[in-house]
Assembly symmetry: C2
Homo-oligomer: 180 residues x 2
DNA sequence: TTGAACATGTAAACGGTTACATGATTTA
DNA sequence: TAAATCATGTAACCGTTTACATGTTCAA
């Protein structure tokens, strides 16, 4: 079973929304899919070139003053490929969590050190939750309810928030159990 | 900032618990850390050899009948390296979730197709939750409460279960929202 | 006797990140 | 005038997975 490259679909999806430059794709990801998907420059630019070679996207230069932007637009075949991918069952993600690995081996060190690790994670979770909540109340609120994307954007945001909540509660519970 | 190889610490941690063969390390991971950490054969065996070359582990052959097993034991320097890693702040994991990516782009396809995706994920979550619950009630119940590892094993299991619960609830909520 | 589980490894391919390289424009 | 941001790309490296390769032992 050959593993399929998902970077291409993340990019095609972003271009399905609207025509964008590589830079804009990255910015958009940072401001919307950051908690479940992100791509680096070194993935985006070569993939855009590859997609263009395959005829899945076309590009044109746009100028803002002297500064050039290469705007990419998805083609008919690009849309077709994207839509077929959308219908494919999503692969289960086997993610790695270093905190849980350390906690699993927690007996090999002191409880104080484990509490420190948990507190660091707690801080991060609360920060992430705030970010997501801000996107929900600021960015998402400006989108009209009839906008077809809105419902879906809200659902992915909610997903991030509920997992943060669950994690925060779990961390506090763990810390209490370690303090006895 | 050079990325550090975590496979070595996952293995050292397993050997810190007790001396094991490569195969046993893998089996142990499948039965305990599967929901947050896993390694393939092609990572484990070469890493064991590397650790042996570095003097972090030693090996001896053990025979069960004619079948040989290569049992690895962690050394003093191996323990030292592991302990210092344990004290290092755990890196934040940027994981990817293909379902969320598809859902984010949900407006480009039909609601029915998105519901199908969600139902598949629901099935998987419930299966995972059952697995974890079984480990908790079967395997973990046989460990005495005074066992230093028990508390930590329980906490990592709980983490898996609460995230499954949150995800299941979220999926059902999403499906309802898509059915109108 | 056949298939599952036990047991250990290697080679090649792939995906992704880090670091490097360059230059324009805007803001403090 | 210096720093931050906009903007696009390449090269090298590393970690991980897939596929391959081999052989034993036990249970149905």
């Amino acid at each position: 079973v050959k593993k399929i490259n998902k970077t291409r679909y993340a990019i095609l999806g972003m271009l399905f929304e609207k025509a964008r430059s590589g830079y804009e794709i990255r910015q958009r990801m940072l401001g919307s899919t950051i908690h479940f998907w992100q791509e680096s420059d070194a993935s985006i630019y070569p993939m855009l070139r590859m997609l263009e070679d395959e005829g899945k996207v076309t590009s044109r230069d746009e100028f803002v003053g002297k500064r050039a932007k290469k705007i990419f637009e998805i083609t008919k075949t690009g849309k077709k490929e994207f839509i077929s991918w959308m219908a494919l069952p999503a692969e289960a993600d086997k993610h790695r969590d270093e905190l849980l690995l350390k906690l699993f081996f927690g007996a090999s060190t002191t409880k104080e050190k484990m509490i420190k690790q948990l507190l660091l994670k707690l801080e991060r979770c609360e920060k992430t939750k705030n970010q997501l909540t801000n996107i929900e109340t600021d960015t998402l609120a400006t989108v009209t309810d009839t906008h077809p994307h809105k419902l879906f954007w809200q659902m992915t945001l909610r997903n991030g928030i509920i997992h943060c909540d669950a994690e925060i509660k779990w961390i506090k519970d763990c810390i209490e159990k370690l303090k006895d």
